[in-house]
Symmetry: C2
Subunit: 319 residues, 2 copies
């Protein structure tokens, strides 16, 4: 019998809306939890005070973590524990967060991009368990990603790898500051909704209209998924397009990296078969037999726990 | 002072036309050489006899290699030293080549895809020297590639990674057995030539006509490059298109992997600035500032030696 794991780490999922702190053990179980709204910690000082509060609570229960991992929504330099800047959270430009945490709490600390943290969480404890090479994609307002090689996060030369959302699927497509024809400019939540609303405004009949009681401002990917589940032709068409865009990027990823598995998380991924059936079919069509029969595409498993547990993995793997 | 390196390895670059055998030392210097035409070794037996001949010659000079590495034009399984099949070389389906070599010559042997071997050769001894993470692309009839991570070849889960030529640059582009819109369906040598010839047939004036004395069957990428060097508008347009297709794929690679450097080899890459100037410009336009200012795109250095020396690296790194 294996002895129960002794090491614990604090994983902090620092989101634009809320901050989730978890006390995580080496099997990925969350033994303690403390959350606070991002808005309630408007300054770095206030943020650190909240973290102090959570840590004290964990410690009062007799739990002594060996380190702290933080996942943040923006560009980071893992090696230096540094935040370049955060999307949607002001006041966090050029911050040596790891150093700040270590100084105040006397614990080793690590800082990683939030989606990278989710990727390593899913690989260690979720859908990617048991796989050596995996790619993680998360579908939301934007499309994020993370690359896991040999069970470890692959960060690239300057700690920024895994930006799946910017993979070009159309050479002459939408222009943005990130380039041209990037995946997320087609299948970000807003893009999915506006594609649908355009079709409805153009007169397409669809169950979606009834589901939002004719208020097109209420259309969401979730609503479209619900209509697709009930075989609404427009909704199915929208999901087929989303799936094919994803498959185009996934084919490129598969030819380049040949992971064992691509894990898909985030809101739209919760649509289930409505997304995954056409996604797998299109991906097969976009690969030759050698690659097609070996790649698996599966939904993420950990939901909102992926980030916290992933941050803990970073601590365990680093110490 | 460092002692002169003692280890030697045989690197065999098994091409569709010729087979190049090199006796390579650990600094990448080729100390002995034996080549034979692929057609002269029509059976596996005859091929092995030729290799025996080369090995005997190396040994007669007192050189004792520690192992043999072979790069072959097709799908391989490095772990098993296995060839699935070779493009353009019949008689080599499902061959345990490493085992055959070891049995006959009493030396450890390794089998790798030829472009992967070139990639690791360029990284160890050529343009990628000193870089940890690099991606190699070779432009020819097809477009091949290899991924080097932490100074080692990255093979993916099933030994097939690095197929840059099949990265999709146009979601709704050319359909092939490899998928849709793959890079090499736009910039393979034949595609470059036929794009040019189409423009000439459509009446475009160009220096190219004079260079081939009006025989459009003589147009090659090299001729087009020569015209581009002399500022021929059509030729410059063609190279701009090739560069932009490459930049589209390189942008996807950079966002996903963030290597320090992308190394470009093969015939078309020898065109120099005519290719690299627009390639770097388009790549910058297709990346955000964080990625654009960090990625380097440079020409390969080793030419026809990349394969042989790369095969030797595989031996050195494995033993």
């Amino acid at each position: 019998m294996k002895a129960s794991p002794q090491r614990l780490a604090v994983g902090i999922d620092f989101g634009g809306t809320g901050v989730k702190m978890g006390l995580v053990d080496e099997t990925g179980v969350i033994r303690g939890r403390f959350d606070f709204p991002t808005a309630a910690a408007g300054t770095r000082q206030a943020w650190m005070d909240q973290v102090q509060f959570g840590l004290d609570r964990f410690r009062r229960n007799g739990c002594l973590p060996i380190g702290i991992g933080v996942g943040v929504p923006g560009f980071t330099d893992f090696k230096r524990g540094f935040i370049y800047n955060l999307t949607n959270v002001p006041g966090w430009n050029s911050v040596y967060l790891a150093r700040m945490l270590t100084k105040r709490f006397g614990l080793p600390a690590f800082v990683e991009n939030d989606v990278n943290a989710m990727a390593i969480g899913e690989c260690a404890y979720g859908a990617g368990r048991g796989h050596r090479h995996a790619v993680f994609a998360t579908l939301g307002t934007g499309v994020g990603g993370g690359v896991v090689i040999d069970g470890k996060l692959y960060r690239g030369a300057y700690s920024m790898a895994g930006e799946i959302g910017h993979i070009a699927i159309r050479m002459n497509g939408h222009k943005t500051p990130e380039g041209q024809g990037g995946l997320e400019t087609y299948i970000g939540n807003r893009q999915i909704v506006s594609r649908t609303v355009r079709a409805l405004r153009a007169g397409r009949r669809s169950l979606i209209r009834a589901l939002v009681k004719n208020d097109l401002g209420l259309v969401t990917p979730k609503i479209i998924a619900r209509a697709a589940t009930r075989n609404d032709p427009l909704a199915l068409e929208i999901f087929d397009f989303v799936a094919d865009c994803l498959a185009t990027a996934f084919a490129s990823i598969t030819y380049l990296l040949q992971p064992e598995v691509i894990i898909v998380g985030g809101g739209v991924a919760q649509s289930g078969r409505v997304l995954f059936d056409p996604l797998r079919r299109h991906l097969r069509e976009r690969l030759n037999q050698y690659f097609a029969k070996r790649i698996k595409v599966i939904p993420a498993k950990l939901g909102e726990r992926a980030g916290m547990t992933g941050c803990a993995v970073l601590v365990f793997q680093s110490l």
